[in-house]
């Protein structure tokens, strides 16, 4: 049986994403997939389903959607959006119900998961929309997204996400061209306060800063070679870009460093205007951090429990604005 969620409104920057397409680099297709893979995982764990299930990714963009004649159980993860539904939690949507999510202030990439996952067609083994590779289109109003309404998922579960210190420097590793940058340039890179530029995309996160651009010595004309998400490229005008999941598979700009995988979810969720700094770490440290984090993710199901939803259990009920779908609290504009 197939049910559908219908989008009644969708802003730009709404796509469907799963874990993307590993093993297609040789075909010129970067992995793509959810920009925040941790948030994708959290939603799948809340619904107790395959961690590769496809979810709607919203990059600070609003969406309104409707269930049809079937109900649905959904999970919300990633950057909290404005809605009267709790974030990092699962919810029962009755048939013929409309839900609106508005961008919040904390974070960039939000995810709406559905029990059973969205069942759009697979392309190269994935449902991820990869605009750079010409695979799929952004979601838009009137799209009908198929899902299987039969589910064992439970509504009203909540995950304690326990995200790390949001203000610590983003940790980086030396990369293939780091040595082309003079020691002073590398020190200056670590001392610089950056902020994400609002022009960032799923292909590259552009970093703004007040000081002069960064410059590599000598060999500026680098023969095009493999690039990976997390690489920090310095373009001809000295601007730093962190490559994102939809990046091209090769590039010829010098790379000053690479962001460690552990810190990518925190980096990609940093909103424009918020300061960011970088700190070089050793490969040993990066490896230990990565293994610790991947082991922690295996324990996330233990952080899931029932959510108290009886209004009598909500101590500050009067601070909730129950009619317009906007929750009071720190997400309030």
């Amino acid at each position: 049986m197939t049910a559908h969620l219908t989008l009644t409104k969708a802003g730009p920057g709404a796509t469907l994403q799963d874990r993307g397409r590993p093993s297609q680099l040789a075909g010129g297709v970067s992995r793509g997939g959810a920009v925040d893979p941790l948030a994708l995982l959290e939603g799948a764990l809340l619904l107790g389903q395959d961690t590769d299930a496809a979810a709607i990714e919203l990059a600070t963009t609003p969406i309104t959607l409707r269930t049809g004649q079937h109900p649905a159980i959904i999970a919300l993860s990633g950057a909290p959006m404005r809605t009267d539904l709790a974030w990092n939690a699962t919810h029962f949507l009755p048939p013929e119900t409309e839900l609106t999510l508005q961008p919040g202030r904390d974070g960039i990439y939000s995810y709406l998961h559905i029990a059973g996952g969205f069942r759009t067609d697979l392309v190269l083994g994935s449902r991820s929309i990869h605009l750079k590779a010409g695979i799929g289109q952004p979601l838009q109003a009137e799209d009908r997204l198929p899902y299987d309404p039969k589910t064992n998922a439970t509504a009203d579960l909540v995950l304690n996400t326990n995200r790390p210190d949001q203000n610590a420097p983003i940790r980086i590793l030396s990369s293939v061209q780091t040595a082309l940058f003079a020691k002073e340039e590398r020190v200056r890179f670590e001392a610089t306060r950056f902020t994400p530029d609002p022009r960032s995309t799923r292909s590259a996160l552009r970093l703004s800063h007040d000081t002069k651009g960064f410059e590599a010595n000598g060999q500026l004309d680098i023969l095009s070679e493999a690039t990976l998400p997390g690489d920090i490229q310095i373009t001809g005008d000295g601007t730093a870009y962190v490559l994102m999941p939809d990046c091209q598979t090769t590039g010829g700009y010098p790379r000053i460093a690479a962001v460690i995988p552990t810190d990518m979810p925190r980096l990609v969720q940093t909103p424009p205007g918020k300061p960011l700094t970088f700190r070089f770490v050793s490969r040993e440290e990066a490896l230990t951090l990565h293994r610790t984090e991947m082991a922690r993710r295996k324990t996330l199901p233990k952080q899931i429990g029932p959510r108290l939803r009886d209004p009598r259990d909500i101590p500050d009920l009067l601070s909730y604005q129950l009619i317009s779908g906007i929750t009071a609290g720190r997400e309030e504009p």
Binding site: P22, S23, Q24, L25, A26, G27, G28, V29, V123, L124, A133, G134, I135, L173, S174, S175, V176, Q219, I222, L223, S224, E225, A226, L228, G230, D231, Q248, T249, T250, A258, I260, P261, R283, A286, L287, H290, R291, M294
Partner: protein
Amino acid sequence: MTPATDFPRIAPLGLEGVLVSFADRLDLKANSAAIAFRSALEADRPDGVTETSVSLASVLVCCDATVTDPDDLLEALRARVKAVDWYAEGLPKTRKLWHIPAAFDPELSPQLPEMAALLDMSVSDLTTEILAAPLRVLTIGFAPGQPYLGALPGHLNLPRQTDLTPKVPAGALVCAVRQITLFTAPGPTGWRHIGQTAFRPFQPKAERPFPLSAGDEVRWRSVSAYEIKSLRDDPMGGATHEPAP
């Protein structure tokens, strides 16, 4: 200029990648070495390798750092690089020779006359040289399945044009720096649009979504603009292949 003895070079790329480089400029021998090295890795993957790919003169090898120590992979690759003279190894025996119908007809090749004029040649002489050139898929990139083919003879070398052509169609052959690229999807380019095929380098629903592989040989089969138009329903655009000699 870096002396050739510096190569092959092996360096970590991010936490989970290792880059093996055979040169720092475009060189057919280094490209052949990179393709041969990657082919050998794919035939007998070192422990923990999750993915490999080849660029113009280098090979990326990726692992899953939760199960493999990337430094162990780096050492394993160092041993594999040393074991063979990859520059002399030759291209893999599995590679194909493709014959792809292409029109070098000004109707579908708007910048062919400009390229001929810049090279001080007639359009017909330039077409003859392009048809005769043995071209190799140097790498796949930029767009899914999109081949970079080279190298044209040195006297056909032209830099990129200074302006961007706003849009060339899918299947377009565009040329610069002794290379030809066959566009997967319509898009802008700084290279000159000198020919047209109906071949689709990315066929998402096909058993082999990327028909071309790095190392394959390509020859153009000269056809009319009319024939290219009539081939547009065939994703292969009338192309045939055989084992490369």
